[in-house]
Assembly symmetry: C3
Homo-oligomer: 337 residues x 3
């Protein structure tokens, strides 16, 4: 796609070149994201951040990214706009708000509704999550994380073995990320999930049609493996029934035993967050928190440079941005870190 002036609604819009381009710009913006450099390239621009469904961290990440480019952020949060509650169509709402802002980030609980926003918006719209359908910026920060982690290990992403584990049916992030990974060459995907929570056929078929190997399994293999990426998600236990719960912990609970069994020294452990810390949730174990292979916080941190890169490309300032950098003049970190 040509990012300039475009809406980003779905990962289906993106080619491998697009991913490379975005990662290159995100890499250039890391000094800003890391608070070493300041830029004001978008000073005077306005982001309207419309979270018709609450998502605090995604909203704050978009807001921080736009603020660090020098722009101003206007937000609204809640199930409905007050005007929508009065019967206003999405077409009217989008047209009106797009008269105030330079770019919109929109989250909406219903699949397809962000695309409807884009139809009458005067300015570019970024999908910040539309129900179970898409969350493209999460997939992009996941790709950037894999790129960066592999680069640190001096390895190419092509040819990698990625294990997705957990709820692969309802987790939109795993669908979007696996779609983007099919743009690479010669991939192997192992999909570990209970039968009832398995990856949709469409995503599996896409990977196979592009020549990748896909191995859906329902239990932890007896033999050890050494995958390159373990990507796990929060399990919605409320959807599981009877027998699945029995063997759940050993088979799908990513803890030290799981990582020893399925990973190796160079394995990258990922999770889109939040992880469920309530007892018995069996989400990604905190016993891995000091394991350097655990990339989950580097992953969330990378949401900032990725979203900055996206804003920069869509608004056409990516090429000139480095010339606007200046040094940060304040103290950057907590004394206890």
């Amino acid at each position: 796609m040509n990012f300039l002036g475009s809406h980003l609604l779905s990962v289906d819009q993106l080619s491998r070149d697009d991913l490379a381009h975005l990662s290159e710009v995100a890499r250039k913006l890391q000094p800003v994201a890391r608070r070493e450099k300041v830029t004001r390239v978008l000073e005077g621009a306005v982001l309207a951040s419309l979270f018709l469904e609450a998502s605090t961290r995604t909203r704050l990440s978009f807001g921080a990214a736009f603020s660090r480019l020098g722009g101003s952020v206007l937000e609204t949060v809640g199930l409905t706009f007050s005007s929508m509650a009065k019967g206003e169509s999405i077409a009217d709402t989008a047209r009106v708000i797009s008269g105030y802002a330079d770019i919109l980030a929109v989250r909406h609980p219903e699949a397809g509704s962000v695309a409807q926003f884009a139809q009458t918006s005067l300015v570019p719209v970024i999908n910040a999550g539309d129900g179970a359908a898409e969350h493209p910026t999460q997939a992009l920060l996941d790709i950037f994380t894999i790129e960066e982690e592999f680069a640190q290990r001096s390895r190419p992403v092509d040819g990698a073995h990625v294990l997705f584990v957990g709820d692969l049916k309802y987790g939109r992030t795993v669908h979007s990320l696996m779609k983007l990974l099919t743009l690479y060459r010669n991939m192997t995907f192992t999909l570990l999930a209970p039968e009832m929570l398995s990856m949709p056929d469409g995503v599996v078929g896409l990977a196979e049609s592009r020549g990748h190997r896909v191995y859906p399994i329902t239990r932890l293999p007896d033999d050890t493996m050494e995958v390159d990426v373990i990507y796990t998600t929060r399990i919605q236990r409320e959807r599981l029934q009877g027998e699945q719960i029995e063997g759940y912990s050993r088979d799908y609970h990513v803890n030290r035993f799981f990582v020893d069994h399925m990973g190796g020294d160079a394995t990258v452990i990922m999770h889109p967050l939040p992880r469920d810390a309530t007892p018995g949730s069996n989400d990604l174990s905190v016993e891995l928190d000091s394991d350097p292979r655990l990339a989950i916080f580097r992953q969330t941190d990378r949401g900032i440079p990725v979203r900055m890169a996206l804003f920069s490309l869509i608004l056409g300032v990516a090429d000139s941005i480095e010339s606007t950098f200046r040094d940060v003049r304040w103290h950057r970190l907590a004394a206890n870190t």
Copy 2:
């Protein structure tokens, strides 16, 4: 009125010279509102935007206008302040918040309460809507829209024929706008509404006392007419009873038939938005959306330059503002527009 340092609480404060002055400044600020120019004239200033009653679009419009002048925006939204819930008086709340900000925009569900805010505020207060009473900035953007649309048609507003149609009893925007239009010369007002939703006597009397012609009617006339402005509002159908509903659609529903019957080639069609898109609402028809006479989106867009002009005049920067303009450096519009 002298805008400098003043509260704007009611359209009753405004003379025709004030309207001309405000429109002149709004016109100067259009390049900023249209995202062709950037100004940072209010860099360092703070707007406190207190929406004690939710109104997403009005809040975002005030916020965008202040942001585009370079200022920072602090907001609170909700039925009450947490401090008001603890029994704090409006006098105390206003005094405290006015110690933080340079200007306040206040929406409140109760008539007269914004004027109470102004009494103890250290800084100017703009009424962003107080219940059924006033919403002066909406009336000002309506006036600016009429001025601009008429100027494009090379016609003066003096002598115009304005048709108000719909709920003329509860719609505060039509009251405020009609009051401001009485400041012009030789106007004709046709007021088309069911008996139970007719324009208040006070507004009609004001227009008549200033020498204008006022024709209240309850049904669509049999003969065609050619008014200069058709201004319609969302009907609160829940207030209508029995027989009125029968003839409602043909008489008060602004659609292609209505416009053909009452308008001409140069008629300006307006609506304060939101319009109710739910089936059977009979609000302004989407079949007019591609009609160039439909000014509703140009109307809402003009909220930005009008509110910028108001901030600039009240804070005393209107005269010097053009000298602070610089070019926008980013891409301005969606690729599909």
Copy 3:
């Protein structure tokens, strides 16, 4: 404490030198707080303001202070984060958000939870109130107010007589302020409260161990006194029972009679606000509003320079800040003031 890069979680961290240092910086920043000067020293920096419990005025005060230093403010308000609602630990939430921002201001309904935030945050955390436990920035603006009011009267704070009156048991602000006042020399504290709402033993003991005089009393003395500070708080009447209510008004209601009885010409009258204006609340009387000794609005105004000073010290820009000042270019006050 060394402010640079530090968390501010409790007044217990502070020495008298710290108070003097903070007041000195706050004094330097008064021209910015008073809207005579603009600084952009923190341009590019981001404050994440997390109010997991609503507190409009404190949130707006933090936001205004950071905005006036040139920074951007991201906020979230509400009982829980959406991610916390999904079972996320405080440790994860704090780590994630701290990847977006340069500094956090956190209010939380539970005592100790802000300190938990600080444990995994990459950036400094300021406690904006954690339940009944601490609200250190309120105590700091109270100290700054006492310093400034005494300086105007050309008197030292050492040796002063401070009267605390009202609910001394549940009001966290009086605990924190009295703790900080024990850092001065030779103080006298009179504590006027019903038995059931008396100052906790720990605070009284601390004052006595540092050599100050403490006089807990339950009724207004028969003889007049002349204290230097009267500090009163909102009474939670719902906690009072039977006989206390009888004599309440005369003994604990700070009105003209009370001030005549207990104060003198130079007495400073303070209240952390909000004050309860509902009839029968017996909170600080509005009949004192025109009394120049009433410092309550100067007190709340001083929240801005104090919070600016805190941000400046923690982020390491306090020393260079005056060199960044420039004149305000807009009109500063309402025409009616």
